[in-house]
Amino acid sequence: MLQYTQKRVHGIQDLERKLNELGYRVGIRALDLLVWRDKNSKRETRVLGMLYFIHTTVWKTMFGKQADSLEKSTENEDEYMISDNDPMVSKFISVPKDVSQLNCGAFMAGIVEAIMDGCQFPSRVTAHTVPIDGYPLRTTILIKLDKEVLEREEQLK
């Protein structure tokens, strides 16, 4: 998949964007499928419930384990982070030096963004690599919710 996209883009940003788009298509389908399979599940209407769903169910079906952490940023009200110490997506990819900025987590970010959009929580989702001792590939997915989502949360409280 990476080679396919690599042939069609001119630059790293573009490559990340294309991976993001591919992830988006996966995410849309994953959302309905997972909710259906979880027979007694209901729709998610609250942000936290939604993030928790992604953090557990989605990660489990995609990668076989739950995501490693779900955090709320202290600086901004509308930012949340999901971290994965060992993302399966990037595990088997060796990145050459000239494209060292590339983060294949963009694919995972696309999936998350599609799920958020599908549930009517539009947000910007990006992937960042934050290496920590013992986990050089640790990737964090940053979810920045749009303003209208926050307003709606306020009203619902």
Binding site: L33, K42, R43, E44, T45, G118, Q120
Partner: protein
């Protein structure tokens, strides 16, 4: 031959004069609406189970049926507003009967991906309708999994249509 079943993706084009009443034909009108309020799929069923009871009724001439069809679309669209109000107060998927028009009821089902399934019907058992909606949701997911299907576009597949009608016959 006059078309009496409508499974085409676009309804009629003109606006008929307001009908005096729906007559006695128990038809149900089912429509799936995408995230941008665009209809993805629509179908009309003649309900077999209740038709048996009123078998002495003459069929409605086709001209009147066209008018009913347009009205059905209007009713469905006005019901969308009701859905939007309710959708944030509950996390259920099956929103039961959300609106009433003359003697028709409108039931709705909201999927996880925010697709709205609407059914216009006469008085029916809630369980039957819930089962029907669940079936249709499953068919929709299967369509969605097709990599060639772009989400939020019209569903043209005849196979989908057949299955929906089959499910309607079973439950409605």
């Amino acid at each position: 031959m006059n078309t009496t079943h409508s499974s085409s993706s676009s309804g009629g084009s003109g606006i008929g004069s307001g009908p005096l009443g729906y007559g006695n034909t128990p038809t149900c009108y089912f429509v799936m609406i995408g995230t941008k309020d665009n209809p993805i799929y629509e179908a009309e069923f003649v309900s077999v189970n209740t038709a048996r009871a009123s078998s002495g009724v003459a069929a409605i001439p086709d001209a009147k049926k066209e008018e009913f069809r347009h009205l059905n679309q209007f009713i469905a669209h006005s019901a969308l507003d009701m859905i939007e109000d309710i959708q944030w107060s509950t996390n259920q998927m099956y929103l039961k009967s959300i609106d009433k028009f003359n003697e028709r009821f409108i039931s709705a089902y909201l999927t996880a991906g925010n697709i709205k399934l609407l059914l216009l019907h006469d008085a029916k058992s809630e369980d039957a309708i819930r089962n029907f909606f669940n079936d249709c949701y499953e068919l929709y997911i299967k369509t969605l999994l097709n990599p060639f299907y772009e989400p939020n576009t019209i569903i043209n597949s005849p196979a989908f249509d057949t299955k929906v009608r089959l499910s309607a016959k079973r439950y409605l």
